[in-house]
Structure formats: C-alpha cells, structure tokens
Amino acid sequence: MTDVNDRQVDALVAAADDGVDCDGLRVRRGEDGYRFETPDGAETGLEESALRSVAAENPWFVSNWYCWREVDRPEVETAFLRWLESADDRSVPDRYEALADGVEASWGELAVEVALGGDGRRTYAVRHEEDADRPVGELEVYADPLSARELVTYDDRGRYRPLKTAPTLQTGWALLDLDGRSLVRAVDVVYPATVTNWHLERQGELDVSHWRETMERQTGIYGVIRTWDRGEGYEHVNWVAEACCDDSQCLKRREWEYDDDTDLDVDGGDGAFPCREPCSLVVAAARQWTKLEGEQPQTYEFELTPSEKEQVEAIIDTVADGEAGEIREADVYEGANRYRARFLRAKRFDEEGRLGGVSTDD
C-alpha cells in the first residue's frame, strides 16, 4: 500500500505556493490559507499542519503527483509512461488499485508491467508478450536496458532480424525493476524511435513522407526506383505494402501512402506505433522489384495436372507466409512438403532445371 511520507508532504507544501494541479489533485496557497481539492471535494482555509494531515489522508493523490512532478523528464517520456497506466483515462484511486496488482500494457510484441515502487514511483518490467505468464525463474533476466540489444539481433530460430519491428522478437527473457527512464530506453532499443514517433503523432506533428517523395529522394543505386512510378497508377505500391508492411510482417502501422493525394488500397495495420516513411528494407526490395518489373510478361506453355497447379500455389503461399519450416517431414498431404516438391521437380524439370523443359527466353 501507499504511504505518504514526509518527503512527499514537504514537497507538496513547498509546491503549493505555485499551485499543484495533477490528475484531479489541486493544491494552492491563498490569502486565507491552503486549499486542498480532489474530485471528492475541497478543503479550504487550511493551516500548514492541517494541510499536512489532509495530504496524509489522501496518499494516492499525493504520491501520484509526486511521481509525475519530476521536471527534467522529457515530455515524450512522461507521455508514454502515463499512457502505459492510462493516466489520462482512469482516476487516481482506480489506477492505484490496479497498480497494486500490476498494470499490463502492450507495445508491439512487448508486454510492459507497471507496478508501484517506493515513494510513489513506478517500477517497470518488460518481456515478450508470450512470456507474460511464465515464471521469472524460467527467463533470462537482465537489468541494463542496453542489454536488450543482444535480444533483438536474432529471432528464436537464430536468424538475423534486419527489421526491428518484424513480429519475430526473441522470447525467454525479462528486464526487471526498471525505472521510467530505463524502460523507455529499453523500448527504444527493441523498437527504435517508435515512442518518439507515436508521441509526435499524438501531438498531430508526425511528419509522414509518402512513397513518391521517398523514392524521389533516393540516389546512387536506389535512384532507379523512381522510374517504377510511371504515373500509371500505384498498384505496384499496393503490392509492396502488402508484401512488406502487413501486420504479419511488420508491427508498425503504415501511415505513408502513395502520395499526399493518393491513399493505397491496402490496410496500414493496427500497430500502436506509426510508420512514417518506407524503411530501408522496403527501399532495397523496391530497387530489386523495379528491375524485375521492367520485364514484359510472356506466354509460356506448360502441362500441369490440376493438383500440380494447386501444389505450385501451395508452395508460393507457404514460402510467403514463412511456414515452409513448419511442414513436417512425412506430411506428404501438404503441397509444400519437401518430398512432394522434390517429386514435382523430378517429374517436371529437365536436366537444366527448366519447368516443363521450356526455356525462359524464347
């Protein structure tokens, strides 16, 4: 439970001269003494000793003010930490009751738990949402937010993660006993700049750079991408967004569109934090697609049985959904099963690896 200590009350008395106004608590010093007000009512004309006892009777309000009063906290940090405990939506008593059990918030794949520490301060714990119910003893525990750097480099299969907001965050770890500053630092290591951009968006100040302007800015080997936009529509960008920015591939909510006037037809996703411009991965992929899409379609003639046609579709789906590794060795009922794919290759490819023996450029 929360006790008001002398330090908090001393601070409150001192702050009353300039006035205190925080989450429903209002305290100020007037000509006829102190005024102490909460949503439950106001007491006026208080001597300092009386102010001290009312303060002591309202420990949650006082400790809540004390916690958020720190002035050297950057605005973005305060906004994020308050959002985690829904400070703008829930009353102080309501919140304090919840904080006693721990409040859970989610950020990408992170589960953040807020609890009460000493002196009204919050303590934060962060882990993968899949580990939320696992006992801490089963997790690798870290204290330094920078150690999260090791955790974000590889996924659970040991593969390098080139996109930090891909939904492939490693499990099995926890950062415990963080203060607000360290929590924000840890989140920034896992999902760089997402808190800042989220905050800018809430302020109505997010600077979105759409597809067109982003590609026009590119130079060097990426300069070629602008030739992909030929003023004949933006279907190709729909495909890019569907391929790369879907929630199954990236947890940012895509806010960039084709250009200022033209929205894409693909949904931007439901992520908590926005994506303000095509990222370097999308730019690099777009360069390759620009080259490939310069080709003209041709008609090829192959023979496939109906099942083989469906098998080709199944293989593409499985690879596109990243599920090839999950198909069991003997599951020959799946088109993308390795034996099935090898059989198809044995039957339909010639010695030079050409489908149906048909050459690519004829």
Partner: protein, 316 residues
C-alpha cells in the same frame, strides 16, 4: 547538454556489421562525457532519418563511422539528417581533410556539428598500428629494437615487419584510395615498420599479390574497413591465398609464398577506434575532458593475450 550520435552503414544481411558501432558507442558512453550516446544506421534502425528526434540535447555531435569522404558522408548522411544548408564545400576538404561543419537539422531544429569521417582522422594511423599490435600480440611489432620484450622472435624473423594497409580502389570512390595512402604514408614516416604499402582490392597495387610487394618475412595486413563482412572475411583472405575457402578459416599467421602473413581483419573492430570518435567530436567543439586519454589507456594491448578474436575467420 551535449549528445553524440555515431552514424554507420549497418547491413540487412550481416549481423556483425553494426557490432563495432555498438562497441565503440559503449566505450564512449562509459567515458561519461556525453549526456547521451546514440547510434544510427543507413540499413538498420534507428535510421539516419529518425535518430535525431530520439535525442534530447539541442546540441548534437554527429560522427560518421565511415572510412572516407564520399557519397555517404557528403550526400546520404546530410540529406537524411535534413542538414538542408549542407553543401560539399562546407567541409572545405581536399578529400582527406574534413573536420566539421555546424548546421541545423531542419525537422528537429537541433544544432548539428557534423564531423568528418573517422577514417581520415590523423588518429586513425594510430588505430592501424594498434591493430597490427593486436593481431600479432606484440605491442612492439615492427620496432627494430633489441628489447627483450619484443615478441618479434615469435615470428622466427629478424624482427623486420612489413605493413600493408588495404582498401577499395578508386573505382568505388576516389577518396577511399586517398585515405589508404594518407595513412600508409604517415605510418611509413614513423620509421617503425620496415616497409609500409597501400594495397587495393580492385586496382594496382593489388592485395592479391601482397607478397610481391614486401621483402620482410612478416607482413601484417590491415584492411581499412569499418566492420568485418564479405570483403574482409571472404574476399581478401581468399585473394591473398590465406585459405582456399574462407569458410574453413585460416591461420594467423598464415604462410604465403614463404612469408608469414598476419591478417588483422577490419581495423574498425579495434577498440581504439572509440578514441577517434572522441577526437572528431572534440574538434567540433564537444567537451570531452580527458576521455581521449582514458580510452587510449583502457584499450591498450595487454601484451601476450591480445590478438584473440582476430583473424580466425568466420568459420561458419
């Protein structure tokens, strides 16, 4: 309040590309002279575009962890950081002499002291020498002294050691070759190594023929690259004949045409690089106190057990 942002290339494919950047950022952070030390990447996150907005200070020192002046330092970084008033004259450089320029990043309204790349700083010559010491495990490598401390005897030679500084050639970037030659000349002037040569990957004198350019029995080869990757861990070791297949690794030293070749891997992984970052920021006006000295001391070769982590190849 002063902040430091180290900007580097990074990679979509190679997880090791950003490791030196993080390591040097940690070293600078531990020195405690900046309120914040951040990193930003062209290919990783946070991107150059979004790094400055995560920094609190109004005054930011930006140091590019790049080897030479050129496309990245003159076009990409200033553009992506929105240093709108930047132009190539701002550094007033001959290709290796950029120090810094003070500009505004227009999206965040912060003052950015944009520094020249680490690779062309004079202190980089020291890092190359330090790298040679690390890979040979000999703090006196090349010194022609009769000092009993000299571990040159380990190389079964008379102590004469040649040093090759290796880079891309001009094909990719004219200033890249200039930076290699600049440091090779500076190190040669110190009269420490018997022979010092600048060698290149895609032009003469080529690193493939490394042994043709040296009389010395022992040759230390230091590639002027920021991070280990394809060039330093696959191309160069195979081209020099250290190994037929980089995946099987190579010996350090490896015997090539009767010479002992000590291959150091990317100079950028050397811990002393952190000092160059500090020097760059200090020249641009950052208050770094005695951090340069501290870092120099802390990263010194410990003598016998140094050189681990160098040259074993990537193995897998």
């Amino acid at each position: 309040m002063q902040s430091l942002v180290i900007v580097a290339h990074g990679s979509h494919l190679n997880p090791d590309a950003s490791t030196p950047t993080y390591d040097h950022a940690d070293t600078v952070r531990e020195a405690g002279v900046f309120d914040e030390v951040r990193t930003a990447f062209w290919k990783e996150e946070p991107s150059f575009r979004e790094a400055l907005r995560t920094v609190q200070a109004e005054e930011v020192y930006v140091v590019p962890l790049f080897i030479s002046e050129g496309y990245f330092t003159e076009q990409v970084i200033p553009r992506e950081l929105r240093l709108d008033d930047w132009d190539e004259e701002a550094w007033d450089s001959d290709g290796t002499s950029a120090t810094h320029a003070t500009l505004e990043a227009t999206d965040v309204g912060k003052t950015v002291h944009y520094c020249g790349p680490v690779g062309t700083h004079d202190a980089m010559s020291d890092v190359i020498v330090r790298r040679a010491e690390t890979v040979t495990g000999d703090p006196d490598v090349g010194e022609r002294s009769d000092s009993p401390n000299s571990r040159a005897s380990r190389t079964e030679s008379d102590g004469e050691v040649g040093l090759a500084v290796v880079g891309h050639g001009t094909e990719r970037n004219e200033n890249s070759a200039k930076a290699i030659e600049y440091h090779a000349d500076r190190i040669a002037d110190r009269d420490r190594f018997e022979e010092v040569r600048a060698l290149f990957m895609d032009e003469d004198p080529e690193v493939d023929d490394v042994t043709d350019f040296f009389e010395s029995d022992d040759i230390v080869v230091v590639p002027l690259f920021v991070a280990d990757g394809y060039h330093t861990q696959e191309d160069i070791p195979e081209d020099m004949g250290l190994t037929d297949d980089y995946r099987t690794g190579w010996e350090t030293p490896a015997e090539v045409d009767g010479h002992d070749v000590w291959y150091a891997g990317a100079v950028g992984t050397e811990a002393l690089m952190a000092e160059v970052i500090l020097e760059r920021a200090a020249e641009a006006g950052a208050d770094v106190g005695d951090a340069v000295e501290t870092v120099r001391r802390r990263t010194r070769v410990a003598g016998t057990d140094a050189g681990t982590g160098a040259g074993a190849g990537t193995g897998d």
